[in-house]
Amino acid sequence: MKNTLLLMLLMIPFSIFAQTGIVTGRVVDSSNMPIPGVNVVIQGTAEGVITDLDGNYSVNVENEQVLVFSFIGMETQSIQYIGQIELNVVLFETLSSLDEVVVIGYQTVRKADLTGAVSIFNPDDMKSAVVTGGVADALVNIPGVFVRTEGKPGAEGTIEIRGTKSFGSSQPLYVIDGIAVEGGANRDFNFNDVESVQVLKDASAAAIYGSRAANGVIIITTKKGSEGPMKIEISSKTSLQTLPRYNLTNREEWISLNDMAHVNNGFPLANHSDGDTDWQDETFKTGVVQDYNISFSGGSNSGNYFMSANYQTNSGTTIGTESTRMTLRSNTSAKKEFGNAVVLTVGENIAVSNYRIDELDTNPIIDVYRMLPTISVYNENNPGGYGYGDGSQDVTFGTNPVAKEALTTTENQNLRVRGNVFTELAVYDKIRYKFNLGFETSSDEHMFLRKVGNWSYNQPIDPSSLTKNKARFNSMVYDNTLEYNDKIGAHSINAVVGTSFMDISYEQLWGTKNDVMSLSDGTYYEQLNAAQGDPRTGGFRDLEKLFSVFGRVNYNYADRYLMSFTIRRDASSKFGPDNRNGLFPSISGAWRISNERFFNSSVINDLKVRANYGVLGSSNIGVWDWIAFINSFPQAVFGNPENIEIGQTQVRLVNTDLRWEELHQMNIGLDLTMLRNRLDLSLEYFNSETQDVLTGMQILMSTGNSGGNPNVNAASLKNTGIEASITWRDRKGDWGYSINTNITSLKNEILELGYDREFFTQWNTRSYVGEPIGEWYLIETDGLFRSMEQVFAHVDQNGNMIQPNAQPGDIRYVDANEDGVITDADRVHSGSPWPKLQLGANASVQWKGIDLQVQLAGAFGHKVFNGPRSGFDRFDDNSNYRADYDAWSPDNPNAKDPRPIYQDSRNTRGDQDRWLEDGSYLRVKQMALGYSLPSSMLGEVADQVRLFINAQNLITITGYTGLDPEFRNSSIWERGFDYGAFPNPKAFSFGAQITF
């Protein structure tokens, strides 16, 4: 006995360094969080284990064997066993993005296997900012994507993917959790719920959405729970916003210029009113945006859940508007395995949101300069009590914004339930059948109240009125897909085939009455029963249906040769029975050169070239546009005593043979990853042609058409572009950094305009066949006449004065067609509103707990028309003026600006090039600094606490003198015209995120 014990004691020390042993340990990530599910495999064998929920593992291993620790998204580590009892491992996130999984439409593929042009947006880019508009508003840095936003509550931006491919809406198709959503991910959508966003830019990527994909597809996947204990995330963000301001005259400066303008035209000086108002001070304010979000998520190996709630408010950067939004979301899914072969998954994603907004009733960006500094805000002699000038003193036809916001109210409220329910049956992981039912229903309420009172000079006295609208939007989408995935040797096939049926209805009912009752304190009743007279009511319903059949096959040989073929057939109710079917095929291929046997480079990790060609469709027209209707609204009076009779007639002309627009697109791309997966380079070239473009082409007035130009498949457009994207990421010790830059160059060209037109004129732009859309055509100006000699010297070829009425201090116009007069025919090509180059960049640095992010955006080489400046540079009609206006006068003969002349339009004609400016800009959109508290401080309770501050849109380098070079104008004919667009505000944001 004693001997056995001794032997055993002697054995123990040896067992520590024995030939076979048990190793235990814990695997964590770089922030010390345990990683469950890590593969711990003995190299060269099939033996291995998986870490448990706490990251612990325990494995039998023999001496000198190598343990390989691997996990998706992490750098694999291999450690040799030399007898350790305990082996704890820290895994770092992999720098390579090749293993990222991408959703591309009824399927998911690895990024490495993509044959099309797909850009991935990381919602983390917005972790220090609040997104108040639609999801697309955040996609600032994606190559090929053009985003413009506005800074008022409720504003949703304009997004254009790869140029203007049609004359209708450029709105891309949104797919949320697999369901194509008609309204898009708009301002109701809680951005904090977004897990990933993919932008499908070319034909092969988007072809499976065929008929609605011509403008590109944005795929949004919402967050799902992951296996593990409940994770609670709370975030609170606050953003303080202010608008940039004009530099306008104050009372004294205004009077001095206004008097000069009167004298210059022989008018007696105006009787100036007594006020001293800074209208920008009265109207602009600091807006506060607050966003509070909480989410609970977790799961087991048979199911997961994600629930979130969000509350967001925006108090508005001007008076008269604010918004409030509440959302709730629940995403769950669960699976059951039947034996080894069959897996049944069911799940749902539902979001409920309530968005309430007091909309802007004025355009303050214009009102603040139309109003004069001599007019007081209030004037008890006017109906309503507000000041707006009067005929005997300073007169303006502008609107008093304080008055109009107080006297009119527009409110909208939307309650929306949106989501999908799905069930999926997978057999042997090879065959997968999925039924996805998408639904959206929204209940919209609108109210418009007009109180008694005036906000502008010479307005007729209108009674108070109340209008209420209620509408209901319903959309149902039924998607059936059957997927087949298999791998035989080096060949692998992923195929999907399916059908989709969409049924949409929108119904609206409205009522309005005049003479609304009010209390003595000025509060008005807001129900129609409380209005006394003139009831009117109406209602309508829009219906739309779409049925599609589609299929795609992806073929992959040895990870070297990749091919994909897609086809889709759509039938839409928006077209007549003869024209409602469209067929949209596409084909693409890729060659992974880096996997070739002859390719041997230590520097290049992955090199792939790809090309594709496809046909996509679009039908961005109204739902009844191909049918000619009788309008029953006209009325006529007859008789003594008078009676009203109804008139019925066709008002709007129609083309009944409307059909699908077809976009033919070709794309070539190159993806390169090098230097140990630290450098990613991506280059694309695309060339697309849209045929049969649906356009509300202007038709002759002699047809008698009214109610808008009829849509016609008339035009043909071409878009070409180059996109380049470079990303560099690295980690050295405690430092991690990444920089991404992308550059886009787009060109559009009109191939055909429709009705055999050579060109189309829209205000100050012309669109010629063979040239880009909406180029500037303006009368050239050549400085000022500084003396009468110069006026006399400005002659045509016959020696006649071109501007015989001009005086020194007036603008000298160039008589381009040399006919001796300055007319519309002297307009020449003055520039392009389309940037030659668009730039986006995002840089981030992490050191220990500190993270820094800088995001840039810029556009270069385009010309924009400063609308507001053309408004306050006119002296012919009263408005406020520029404080830096350098008026010509005999005492100031070298001045920059023409002499002000009241009631005379010679220097203010709207089609001159004086207000056309270089629109190039470079803007720092975000400068964010975040700090995550060290885990030692947090202890057991919290897993992560991050605080941040962010300065947005503070630094803009531009020569543009308007408020915001990044202004939004969604009309493609006048893209570069700043009509007084609501600028993007400068903002300072701060907040905290806590994870439990």
């Binding site: 069959v342 007169v395 036809f397 057999v427 059948y433 010479n458 006295i461 009674p463 059936n480 059957l482 059908t499 049926f501 005049n514 109406g538 309508f540 319903r541 219906l543 249906k545 049925f547 059949v549 009844w624 049918i627 000619a628 209707f629 009788i630 309008n631 029953s632 609204f633 006209p634 009325q635 006529a636 009076v637 007859f638 008789g639 003594n640 008078e642 009676n643 009779e645 109804i646 008139g647 019925q648 007639t649 002309l653 129609v654 202007q698 038709i699 007035m701 002699s702 047809t703 008698g704 058409n705 009829p710 009705y755 037109r757 004129t761 519309d824 009609d877 005379d904 339009s905 004609r909």
Partner: protein
């Protein structure tokens, strides 16, 4: 396993079968379902009348084209472009409010008439007479709008489209000169004359009558200086079968209020009503659209309306050259204008809407004369966009003066007859016979015609006739005429002979229709 697959595939096939994507519009009537019954026909014709309530026509802008462009009125509107288009400063030919809106609305009315004329003949009517009455109205209204088109834009160049069938979006009709348009006007009116009744029952007052068609054709003929033929038309109204329907109203003012509408002097009267109150719009898709007259709001004096139009002072001076049979001033002066001294010249004439005479001390009133015809000041103290006053487009006094002009222009015409007609119009407002203060005009046809130009201004100022008159008399075609016009209205300083007698065709029409030629010198 097999069973599962079978279920899967059959479920899939159910959804594979084509789903129906046809939808029926629940909101509107389709054209192919309309134009079937007598009621449809009547509604179709009512819709043509509806064009009178649009801003491009008699609701608003046409008064700027006819009254302000002529030497009777001018504009000093702070909306400079608007004012420029009343003083021959035409920069942007596409200017909507000043040119293109009226052009489009005229053709929109023509399109509605074309629809009626195309579809109604195919409809079965119990009484063929009723069908003809509807067609006659469509012909009349088409003629009226082509009359405006010819007057405003017709020149010797092929600048006008004559569209006689319902339009298609891609139509590019060839251009015609003004003579061809006049021909079409006369042709349409010839049809109207045979198809329309002499008068309507009380519930149809306002619809076109045979007399209206004769009077309009006379106007068209007079513009072409076809005096004989015009005289034939006018004879029906003055001495023929038509005379039973018409006479001069007892009170001059009765032609300009909404209390005395469709009176005996009315030959063609556009019915306006304020039944659809603010904020009723004038768009084609507005429920219960505005059926009221906008003109009051636009011409009302400062502080009441926009004052986008006002009168030249020579008319006031002209009125004051004579006294009526009671020793007072011509009552027509009182009813036509607001001017300084209006309270001195007439008793009980000291209110301008809600203002008293102290406004004449303000510098936005001094030395100005404001338009009173069609103002609502006689029953309320403000104006708005929904005035109920009917526009007497053609009234009997106009017919009498036209007849006088034709007779005097005809070589065989009897001057005495012409003078008697003028005297009849003068007598209604208690003014002495023409011979009393203007003896030369009763002995010489030339002198008479010259005096008649002023008589028309005194009777018919600001009723939309002066522009046609000034063109017909050739005052815009000769240097002498231009000098005369300039002496009355400074706007004519910008006038170029051979150019500004017509407006330019909107550039978008010229640019997009190769068949049209722009008017001369534009």
């Amino acid at each position: 396993m097999k069973k599962l697959l079978t279920i899967l595939i059959s479920v899939h096939l159910i959804f594979f079968s084509s789903c129906e994507v046809d939808v029926m519009n629940p909101n509107d009537l389709e054209v192919r379902a309309f134009w079937k019954t007598e009621i449809d026909a009547r509604s179709g014709v009512n819709a043509i009348y509806n064009m009178f309530y649009k801003p491009g026509t008699y609701n608003r802008w046409i008064w700027f084209r006819y009254d302000l462009t002529s030497d009777e009125g001018f504009s000093s509107s702070p909306w400079l472009e608007l004012a420029d288009w009343t003083r021959f400063n035409y920069n942007n030919y596409n200017f909507w409010e000043g040119n293109a809106w009226t052009y489009r609305d005229s053709y929109e009315a023509i399109y509605r008439a074309n629809q009626a004329l195309f579809y109604i003949p195919q409809i079965e009517f119990a009484d063929e007479n009723e069908k003809n009455k509807l067609l006659g109205q469509a012909y009349f209204l088409r003629a009226l709008h082509y009359y405006n088109v010819a007057l405003l834009w017709g020149s010797e160049n092929a600048s006008l489209a004559i569209v006689l069938e319902p339009s298609n979006p891609g139509d590019t009709p060839p251009g015609n000169n003004v003579t061809a348009v006049w021909e079409q006007v006369e042709k349409d009116l010839a049809n109207s004359i045979t198809m329309l009744p002499g008068e309507w029952g009380s519930e149809d007052k306002g619809r076109a009558t045979k007399g209206a068609a004769y009077a309009l054709r006379a106007k068209a003929r007079m513009q072409q200086h076809k005096w004989d033929e015009a005289a034939e038309d006018l004879e029906w109204l003055v001495e023929g079968d038509g005379a039973q329907y018409y006479d001069l109203a007892g009170n001059f003012k009765d032609n300009f209020t909404h209390f005395t509408e469709n009176n005996i002097e009315s030959v063609f009267e556009i019915q306006f009503s304020d039944v659809n109150k603010a904020p009723a719009g004038d768009g084609d898709f507005d429920i219960d659209p505005n059926l009221g007259l906008n003109r009051g709001q636009f011409f009302a004096p400062p502080g009441i309306g926009w004052t986008d139009g006002e009168a030249n002072s020579w008319i006031v001076d002209e009125y004051k050259k004579e006294l009526d049979l009671d020793g007072g001033y011509d009552i027509r002066l009182r009813e036509s204008f607001f001017y300084e001294g209006m309270d001195d010249d007439f008793p009980n004439n000291d209110r301008i809407y809600r203002f008293g005479m102290d406004v004449w001390n303000q510098n936005n009133y001094q030395n100005r004369v404001f338009i009173r015809k069609y103002a609502t000041d006689y029953y309320r103290d403000f104006d708005d966009y929904h005035s109920p006053i009917n526009v007497r487009l053609i009234r009997y006094a106009d017919v009498l003066l036209m007849y006088a002009e034709c007779i005097a222009n005809m070589p065989g015409g009897d001057l005495a007859e012409a003078v008697a007609l003028v005297n009849r119009v003068r007598a209604r407002v208690d003014m002495p016979d023409l011979g009393a203060n203007y003896p030369a005009s009763v002995v010489s046809k030339d002198a008479f015609l010259k005096r008649l130009q002023m008589e028309r201004a005194l009777e018919l100022n600001f009723e939309g006739h002066r522009w046609a008159d000034v063109k017909r008399w050739g005052l815009v075609d000769s240097q002498e005429g231009l000098v005369e016009l300039r002496s009355r209205d400074a706007s004519f300083n910008n006038f170029e002979i051979g150019k500004h007698r017509v407006m330019p065709i909107p550039s978008s029409e010229i640019n997009n229709n190769p068949g049209l030629t722009q008017n001369p010198n534009y």
